[in-house]
Symmetry: C2
């Protein structure tokens, strides 16, 4: 998604810096202007300390914390309109450890920032999958403390009907309730009611914008949302 979003923004005459902060990524589908791998060598960390892939990622991220100022300096020097920061996908190693949120807040400084949370279309196409993905999104939102927008990624694998249905689940909570009631997985009514009420009360979790890196769709709507948040000063935190 990073590569396509960059392409879309540049195509709209905006300047963009792409920063990679995943030490373990092998060949990302974009050229990063700023890269954590210039500061920590994941392979070397693995070998030197005899760590497995997970341990090496954690250690690399911990080591990278000492270079946040350098990374931020590099980003500022590029003087671009937007910065896309590509984060490691291993949630339990990035979002749920201290180094991930520290990294994000350090890179951000006092600049406006927004977190993009990707729902996998394969999971989100069932009502219970959608519900659990949205809850995970709320949890990650709390960890990072940034305004957050959910994106329905790889939406090209869905039919138009499926895509529309998922978007509507975010807009009208009673449609999601109906879908849950009909689902074969049979979540108890009490349980889903409590969760639906919460999602209804959280404006930030309002819904997912379908995007497709393959078809280059959805970026105009996402950009509108970015504009709204950055100019409106919309913020989850007081």
């Amino acid at each position: 998604l990073t590569a396509s979003l960059e392409k879309w923004l540049v195509g709209s005459d905006l300047s963009v810096t792409v920063a990679n902060i995943d030490p373990g990524v092998e060949s990302p589908p974009y050229t990063s202007d700023v890269d954590i791998r210039e500061y920590v060598d994941y392979g070397e960390v693995m070998n030197t300390f005899g760590l497995g892939p997970n341990g090496a990622l954690v250690a690399s991220l911990d080591m990278a914390i000492g270079h946040i100022d350098d990374l931020r300096e590099e980003i500022i020097e590029t003087e671009r309109d937007y910065v896309i920061v590509d984060c490691p996908g291993q949630m339990e190693l990035f979002a749920y450890r201290n180094s991930g949120p520290l990294m994000v807040s350090g890179l951000r400084g006092d600049d406006p920032a927004m977190s993009l949370y990707l729902l996998d279309s394969n999971i989100a196409k069932t009502a219970t999958g959608y519900l659990s993905s949205m809850l995970l999104g709320v949890s990650i939102n709390i960890r990072f403390g940034l305004p957050q927008q959910s994106l329905l990624s790889k939406s090209d694998i869905l039919t138009e009907e499926e895509r529309d249905e998922i978007v509507q689940w975010g807009e009208e909570i009673h449609l999601l309730e109906d879908a849950l009631d009909q689902s074969a997985e049979g979540l108890s009514r009490e349980y889903s009611k409590a969760i639906l009420e919460m999602l209804g009360n959280l404006d930030t979790a309002a819904g997912a914008i379908p995007v497709s890196a393959k078809d280059m769709t959805g970026f105009d709507i996402l950009y509108g949302e970015l504009q709204r948040v950055f100019s409106g000063g919309d913020n989850l935190y007081e």
Copy 2:
């Protein structure tokens, strides 16, 4: 935790089967009676298909789905009182893909089962960390569709005061609310209120039992909870 829980159960004159379903684990701290690695070879999958660690885990789990019946057969043949199934920790690869829930429901069959969700003491000791961990737990609960108990793992790293405070957050939601209000991270009042209301309405998310594999503490309380769920037929799903 698997090793300690097994030890505790055996020490209480119960017979236990330990099953490992993480294809990528290198040297687990227990001897598994049933092991997914006898059916799929993670290293070979990695080499044969030229996959990275994450891709190989996903492919191995997908391949293992074809052997669920064999695994279940093996487990049944051991004829033990309890079965502990150790799952891969990579949530986004296990819980949020189809193979994870399929694996769990296939192994379980129609037998009573309960999911143990581990909160990391390092994260859960702050109010916002606790809140996001509990939300993640609710999300995982939906994915697996089993009655679930949260455990506060590695609780030996906490002081007695910290441990008591976390337990109380689960019992009296207003104490968690107070802690959130005072936290430096400053989650907005509206936001935390909506989430707290939901947690208060979900009996299953009631609280975390502190356990320590190192000190062998908390297992008696956990065992009481297992008994209650298995005999009472307590079930999240209708």
